[in-house]
Symmetry: C2
Subunit: 251 residues, 2 copies
DNA sequence: GAGCATTTGTGCGTATGTATG
DNA sequence: ACATACATACGCACAAATGCT
């Protein structure tokens, strides 16, 4: 009965016994579907069982195609959760002139920011030392969510010496740009001295703000910025959504 | 009956009603025990229940002391697992002259390395482009576990163009130093161009090799090294044990 | 996956000590 | 002497995360 199929099957779109492995055809089909936006970045793909039903093949065949796609970085397979279309990763360059907006615009994306919290708190030991002030002195704490093309990218917690920047809270309430606010305070330029990078799992709030799974890590950086005279302007801890951001260091 | 205790209790070492909060005394006791090595870095501390029995106080009181210790960065508390003495973090400097051994020695630690695998494999698309060779050409793949003071720090997967470094496998079999092997191949110096940094959860094998929990992330870096002439010498993917390492970028 | 033991996290109620006015 | 406020400490119960079977 079953005659050799020389034309693509009506319902599955696959051709058998034509020298092109079924898994390759499936791979190409999915590749095309991802490319033309039928599966959007970050979205969940159908389960292997669903795909094997759709293409009328064994699950192993689908897996072979998926492994290839994962190898090419187009999808990400998570045991027990499913498969997901890879998200386009934002390259975030770390250097002496690191500025969020410039960084994001250099990737042809639209930067945005939202202030989450502004408060004045006493400096605890470690922070006071880094800022070069005495322990217990007031620091302006600014927490900010930064986005690229509307997608959350990083939560930044900035610490400024309150004595030097008393108007900072008001300025930021009007315009969430840190660079602009500092310029208005008489710091037209600042320079990043060191960045320390670690990673950990996010707190529930962080996962929520960054709109990512609780089991995906965050990249944590701690940066120290100084003004041209060398005085410390701020100490910032940032938490980046790993998987949506790649920190790039050029030497 | 119960008289005011002016002297420390015989079994617990705590004094009540003497103006020093019990939780502070517990905090100081544990701090001293960590400092003199009775609890070693990375080791698990007694459970809150055990500590509250030992000090004959309520669990809340112990918790308060532990929170303070966590705030000072001396311990790390993990729900459902226990509390652990903080490990000393290795600062790993990223720069143009990044070398594992030098980096570790600069921290007064003893570097070591173990080759896990040496193989010759064809270059897949992305790698071939980065190395500046044609797709499918042979690359020498070297997988190496690097340690500081005997503790695993990073797994590195190096990719060298096989055509240029044919003797590399033999050399590394004798001496696990990459720098030394390259020098013997006529590359006395190399320079790191870019480093891309992301984070993810480790595979079971990675967690095993790095001797860390499956739920602690790894920092993943991808680096490109060039010789003085600008030719790409190797492309390396490294997986660092987050929590034992901090990547440091100085600008 | 379900079930279980272990361990930390959280909430509530209560009592006592200490400092202030 | 009294009221108030705050930190300390205890007891109990349950929630949530983890690891193991």
């Amino acid at each position: 009965m079953t005659p050799d199929a020389v034309a693509p099957d009506q319902s599955t779109g696959l051709t058998r016994r034509q020298g092109i492995a079924l898994w390759r055809q499936i791979q190409h089909t999915l590749e095309a579907e991802i490319a033309d936006g039928r599966h959007k970045p970050g979205a969940r793909l159908p389960t292997e069982a669903e795909l094997s039903a759709r293409f009328a093949v064994n699950r192993h065949t689908v897996r072979r195609a998926m492994e290839e796609l994962q190898g090419r970085g187009l999808v990400r397979i998570e045991q027990g959760r499913g498969s997901f279309v890879a998200e386009d990763v934002v390259d975030y360059r770390l250097g002496p002139r690191t500025r969020f907006s410039e960084n994001i615009r250099a990737q042809n994306r639209e930067p945005a920011g939202r202030i989450l919290r502004i408060a004045e708190v006493p400096a605890e030991a470690g922070l006071a030392e880094a800022l070069g002030i005495r322990r217990g002195r007031a620091v302006v704490l600014v927490e900010r969510l930064a986005l690229a093309d509307g997608r959350p990218v990083v939560i930044g917690t900035h610490h400024f010496p309150a004595a030097r920047f008393p108007q900072l809270p008001e300025l930021l309430a009007q315009n969430p740009s840190i660079t602009a606010a500092l310029a208005a305070c008489g710091v037209p330029d600042y320079r990043r001295r060191v960045t320390r990078i670690t990673a950990r799992l996010p707190t529930p709030e962080e996962a929520d703000l960054l709109q990512q799974s609780r089991s995906r890590p965050v990249l944590v950086t701690e940066a120290v910025n100084t003004d041209p005279a060398g005085a410390v302007v701020d100490v910032t801890q940032s938490r980046y959504a790993a998987g949506r951001v790649q920190l790039v260091v050029e030497s």
